[in-house]
Symmetry: C2
Subunit: 245 residues, 2 copies
Amino acid sequence: MDESQPSLDDAFGRILARCWAAGAAPWSAVEIIERDDALLGASDAARYFAEPDAWSPLERRGWELASGRVLDMGCGAGRHAVAWAAKGLEVVGVDPSPGAVRVTRERGVDAVEGSVAQLPRDLGAFDTLALFGNGLGLLAGPAQAPAVLAALAAAARPGAVLLGMGTDPGDDPAHADYHARNLRRGRARGQLRIRVRDGATATPWFDYWLAAPAELTAAVEASPWTLDSLERAPEGPGYLAVLRL
Amino acid sequence: MDESQPSLDDAFGRILARCWAAGAAPWSAVEIIERDDALLGASDAARYFAEPDAWSPLERRGWELASGRVLDMGCGAGRHAVAWAAKGLEVVGVDPSPGAVRVTRERGVDAVEGSVAQLPRDLGAFDTLALFGNGLGLLAGPAQAPAVLAALAAAARPGAVLLGMGTDPGDDPAHADYHARNLRRGRARGQLRIRVRDGATATPWFDYWLAAPAELTAAVEASPWTLDSLERAPEGPGYLAVLRL
């Protein structure tokens, strides 16, 4: 065992559980994300519990578009799922993190372990497929995205809508080297390779795609979905994409 | 260049500068400390700016023991130095971090780059040598400590006092593996090897010794200093050591 490497564990779930145990108080748990170029970022895990009035206007508007039976992919601590359930919608959360699933369930919403790549087969069909909280990152990359979108389409009822929040990688000079490195390696500019770290533990590395709107559009065109609208936040790199079958 | 390694830089100073620029607001900057077994810890850098009324009673009591001309080794953001200067004492801060020195100076206290291993020669002599804010960690280890203590003695006026705050490594099961690993490697149990990380940067690795009181006593006995008192905090692993020549 390489003692200089963290041990593989549910670091993300550990962080959410600690924050939840502390009443989701600000900074009661810090999420550390490591990028594969050794960049570390630290942020307040309480944002995974933020109430709707703390969301961005775009996020709130996207959230309001959900209807019927909702699949919340990458549900995290249930930030959106809990609010949908409170509104009377039937929600199932899916997250690869056992700890995230546990916290979401403790908050009263149905949730199961799984990922977009390995969607549990017995979940039934949905009217809304939600990739919120920058969940479009879970499309993983241009090569993987069409298959992920197809898997979500397979879980969709006729007339279903896919609601996704994404982030334009932009041209921040601070990330120019990383974007160039990705291109050199045949990856998309904003195709992050990251893992969550907590104490001496880390999740597996995974791809998380910050797709520019044009990149997302191309991925959608290679999928069963049609891009209905793509709205940028008035400020910042975020956007809301609405896809239909 | 190994792209999976952070670049060597003044990560500690960057964190303090960011916190200072934000008015030392809570969680305006996060300090990430990496231990050489891949343990990461995240904490609020605003603690480096804490005012005396936020210190522990033991820290405040130790701080009050300073008199005359004070050398603040590892002054950080000047937490103790600024308060000593406000009390009318003459203080010189020393820190290996250029950013820490800059922040301390901006707060109106004299400070210079240096370390216990490389104490600037032209600082003059001091009545009080302070290793605060767990500064006894700077003794680095049982092998290095006597030389560090001798270097501090060389900067001391007759009758000088050395005030040091330390931490007993204790027997927390969470750190048992690390302590055992240290012993296997011929190191002291609580002899941490750590570095500060910020973004894509890191300080060099350095030894930081959490010495049990008996270990500290032995190190002092091999130095020009005499242990006058060692007071444990009523709760927790902290202690205050008072040394005289």
